[in-house]
């Protein structure tokens, strides 16, 4: 069991580990690659880049996505940018600094070797994307532009307006299209993975539902790659797309893959505040806005009252009556502190009664200084589309009045446990991008999700999976008529039939909303023992309620979005409980995980390195049985572990 959590970090000096490891990996010859099949589930930055690259290498790839096209994966919505240690700005950036910032930003809960490798391959990502025709922002001389992001003191973020994720995904999607045309990749849009199939303990295929016909279909391969993103939608309201879900991860978990650090969820400080109960989705305003926007609330409670009654506008409050609380508390980083710090500071001000909208859950993000300093045109070039988007949603122009923002669930650092090769505890099963846990520790820095997705997909997985496949090329194609496939399909079929048979009165979304309330209340920005225990109890009650009262309309063998949602919600219950359980056991504050019992006198997060400097990896033990917590200790050999300090 302890062996299962062998991270397989190569030995040797930090900067040489990846090069050394690559030189020791077994290769698969071109004629043998043709005999090997790989399933990739998900077509975001990780999945699309991996499928395309594996296709280029000559493997036979099958790629699955739940949307009507691979291009719609939620990576498309990432706005601000992608980090890379290019040092184009001559501001003394380096691989080491990107590595250091990421480890520190993650509050010393990620693996040194993985993060160093991520920083090492980051520069090649920019080169690859530029070659694909991604229109990165450029200076007048034609050179690439950079901007800054939270948690760092250099300018290393590359961007394409506020649509960087879109452009990078379209680049990966184009590379994927090229391989589909070449016949190395076969694409299955509108297919949803509903189970993982193991043969002799190794991942050999999946059961997927054709979302148009409703048929369950079997797909076999020599290896399976999960690239299905995060599980933030357990909170119902999040910045994730409506269809983003954690189901593939849960299926893998139930089949024996360990699930690591589930409680590490990122709450993004700059989202448009909730407007009412009818809302189903929160919209993110890019972190890049914090480069030039200043965050504040009024100093005086009477101004807050007047704002709420709409008697005054924010722009009428004089400078001396504004509390730029991030600049006040964290002078060295100011408005560019990491996300977890910025989110908690907003909550602190709002809890103290200074929230600026009717619900008391909003702070200002103000551009008036930037507009005065840079001029309208420059600000429009940098943030024009974000300003437009904000105005469309709120009917208020950020050119005239500051934006109102509030934290919301955005990203999950936790995920399927993987070793250095990105292989899970199930041989032949790999997890990449947000779906795995490995690189961001307790908190992800801005513009690092795109970097990790593409690092995994373009440069890491295609190399490491070869080591496993080099032992498999003599094996015949996986036979989908085997009993293991039949059994998996049968269990999925039973699961679907059970959902239809309940025939209650409650719509799926109504129950999902209740789960969201429980999660946000007890497993949100501040967590304590009592609340977390309550969360587990409440989720169990709700789960029971679901199985007695849910109404899934329609039938299995048709296009049926209610059935899709019901299946995903079943898995969100398990994720919600697991998150609460993990948060309960991690009795320290760390990154995005804030335990009320563990804070400094100033209210800052207090880590407990002595007891919790480890990865918690959870093993599924069966329905209704408590999962088992295993530990992978984290060793810091190359950097000194410190208390995060963004004050000076």
């Amino acid at each position: 069991m302890a062996d299962k959590l062998n991270s397989k970090i190569p030995d040797g000096p930090l900067a040489e580990k990846w090069t050394k490891h690559k030189s020791e990996i077994h290769l698969v010859s071109p004629n043998n690659k043709r005999k090997l099949e790989i399933i990739v589930v998900g077509t975001g930055l990780g999945g699309a880049s991996a499928a395309a690259t594996l296709g280029e290498l000559g493997y036979n790839v099958k790629v699955f996505c739940i949307s009507d096209s691979p291009r719609r994966a939620h990576s498309i919505a990432a706005q601000g940018g992608i980090n890379a240690a290019k040092n184009y700005q001559n501001d003394n950036d380096s691989i080491y600094r990107l590595f250091y910032d990421t480890i520190k930003g993650g509050d010393y809960r990620s693996r040194e070797a993985n993060v160093y490798r991520l920083a090492e391959v980051s520069a090649a990502i920019i080169d690859q994307c530029a070659a694909q025709g991604v229109p990165f922002a450029r200076e007048y001389g034609g050179y690439l532009s950079n901007r800054s992001f939270g948690g760092v003191q250099v300018s290393r973020t590359f961007y394409a307006r506020g649509q960087t994720g879109q452009q990078l995904l379209l680049g990966a999607y184009a590379a994927l299209n090229r391989q589909i045309a070449a016949g190395t990749v076969k694409s299955y849009p509108r297919y949803e993975m509903l189970d993982l199939v193991l043969i002799n303990g190794e991942a050999k295929g999946i059961i997927a539902r054709n979302l148009v016909t409703g048929q369950l279909e079997r797909f076999g391969a020599h290896a399976v790659v999960i690239a299905t993103g995060g599980y933030g939608n357990a909170y119902f309201l999040s910045t994730n797309a409506m269809n983003s879900n954690g189901s593939a991860a849960v299926q893998c978990w139930k089949k024996g893959a360990y699930f690591a650090n589930p409680c590490f969820a990122q709450i993004h400080p700059t989202c448009i505040p909730v407007h009412g109960e009818q809302q189903c989705k929160l919209t993110l305003m890019s972190e890049s806005l914090r480069n030039d926007g200043r965050i504040w609330v009024p100093k005086k409670l009477e101004d807050v009252e007047k704002l709420r009654k709409k008697e005054i506008k924010a722009s009428q409050i004089p400078e001396e009556d504004r509390d730029y609380y991030l600049e006040r508390r964290y002078p060295a980083f100011g408005n560019l502190v990491p996300r977890d710090v910025a989110s908690r500071a907003a909550k602190e001000r709002c809890d103290a009664g200074f929230g600026v909208n009717e619900t008391g859950k909003a702070v200002f993000l103000d551009f008036s200084d930037a507009i005065a300093r840079l001029g309208h045109q420059k600000v429009a070039e940098r943030y024009g589309n974000l300003f437009d988007m904000y105005e469309k949603i709120t009917a208020t122009s950020p050119w005239e009045e500051p934006m109102m923002i509030y934290p919301a669930i955005h990203y999950t650092m936790g995920g399927i446990w993987v070793d250095y090769d990105l292989q899970t505890t199930i041989p032949g099963l790999y997890a990449i991008g947000e779906a795995n846990f490995s690189d961001h520790g307790g908190n992800r820095l801005g513009a690092s999700a795109l970097m990790q997705g593409l690092a995994d997909g373009y440069f890491i997985l295609p190399v490491t999976i070869g080591d496993y496949l080099s032992k498999k090329f003599a094996e015949p194609k996986t036979d989908i008529n085997r009993v293991e496939f039949a059994e998996a399909e049968k269990s999925v079929q039973e699961r679907i039939e059970r959902l239809f048979s309940i025939n209650g009165t409650e719509p799926v979304d109504a129950i999902h909303k209740q789960l969201g309330h429980i999660m946000w209340e007890y497993v949100g920005m501040a967590r304590d023992e009592e609340g977390l225990k309550k969360a587990i109890e409440e989720i169990e009650k709700l789960q029971k309620y679901f199985y007695e009262n849910v109404k899934v309309t329609g039938t299995q063998f048709e296009f049926n979005q209610e059935l899709e949602k019901a299946l995903r919600l079943e898995d969100f219950f398990e994720i919600g409980k697991l998150m609460a359980r993990d948060a309960l056991e991690r009795k320290e504050s760390c990154g995005g995980h804030f335990r009320v019992e563990s804070q400094t006198e100033e209210g800052e997060a207090k880590r407990d390195d002595q007891h919790f400097m480890h990865v918690a990896a959870w093993e599924w033990k069966g329905q209704g049985i408590e999962p088992e917590r295993h530990i992978e200790p984290l060793k810091y050999e190359f950097i000194e572990v410190k208390t995060r300090n963004y004050k000076d």
Binding site: S67, R72, D127, G142, Q278, A395, K551
Partner: protein, 259 residues
């Protein structure tokens, strides 16, 4: 706010479709159009068990199926034709970025799928847009394998060129241009990709081949011809202009002449 919704219902690709009318009340004006549909669906699911509603025929079709995902105007999934316009009455938005404050209280709103010969209906308001993927597979890429790229700063691209390329690259692939064109042409979609890559030095080597292959595939898949009505640019949620069609035509002609 309250509305009467006249919505296209169609069981599957082969079935005949029809309109059904529903009444909905208690909608906040800050709600988005899709949130309003979510609320309608909750209502339809609950009413499905109500015998009175069944008599009224409400149970027959159940909740309305529609494509949606990011709900922030970037994934391109949502695709509703509302009161005779792709993505509804607001300019340059996707359906998910359309808010109920743009409608008159008490209005009757007609909701249909994007209609085009190349986009068959899957169910209700959901259409099959795989034809777009096929067009891009025909040549909407630069042929570069992972790992072979040079340093990104060795390719100098002047600021304005990069911005112009980005204008075209902003296409979300929703298909509003096709749905709104009386000929069902995909020219704006094809032009956006061709133009975005043709403007960049790294896109030049394959520019001719790309234009020819994508136009040929578009014709093969049953999209109509462009007759320069410019309706597409009015409805494009990302404001992509027909100037890019002009560039596509230039690339296409160059390719033809060099044959």
């Amino acid at each position: 706010m309250e509305f009467n919704l006249k919505i296209w219902r169609q069981k599957n690709a082969k079935a005949k479709g029809h309109f059904e009318t529903y009444h909905i009340a208690g909608i906040e004006e800050d709600a988005s159009f899709l949130e309003m549909l979510d609320i309608l669906n909750e209502q339809l699911i609950r009413e499905g068990n109500d015998p009175v509603a069944v008599e009224r025929g409400c149970q027959s079709s159940g909740p309305v199926s529609f494509d949606h995902d990011c709900r922030e105007g970037i994934c391109g999934a949502c695709s509703l034709y509302i009161d005779g316009r792709a993505h509804g009455p607001d300019d340059h938005v996707t359906t998910c970025q359309l808010f109920m404050r743009h409608f008159k209280d008490g209005a009757t709103i007609t909701v249909e799928p994007f209609r085009s010969a190349a986009f068959p209906v899957i169910k209700d308001l959901v259409v099959d847009r795989r034809a777009f993927d096929k067009i891009l597979q025909a040549g909407g890429f630069i042929s570069v394998n992972t790992g072979s790229a040079q340093d990104a700063n060795t390719l100098l691209i002047p600021h304005d060129k990069a911005e112009e390329s980005m204008d075209a690259a902003a296409c979300v692939g929703c298909g509003a241009c096709v749905a709104t064109c009386k000929n069902g042409s995909a020219m704006l979609f094809v032009a956006a990709r061709v133009s975005s890559l043709a403007l960049l030095p790294q896109g030049r080597p394959e520019a001719k081949r790309r234009a020819k292959a994508m136009v040929a595939k578009m014709d093969e898949l049953g999209f109509g011809n462009c007759t320069n009505t410019r309706a597409c640019e009015l409805e494009c949620p990302k404001g992509i202009t027909v100037n890019h069609i002009a560039r596509l035509n230039r690339e296409f002609l160059k390719a033809k002449f060099s044959d």
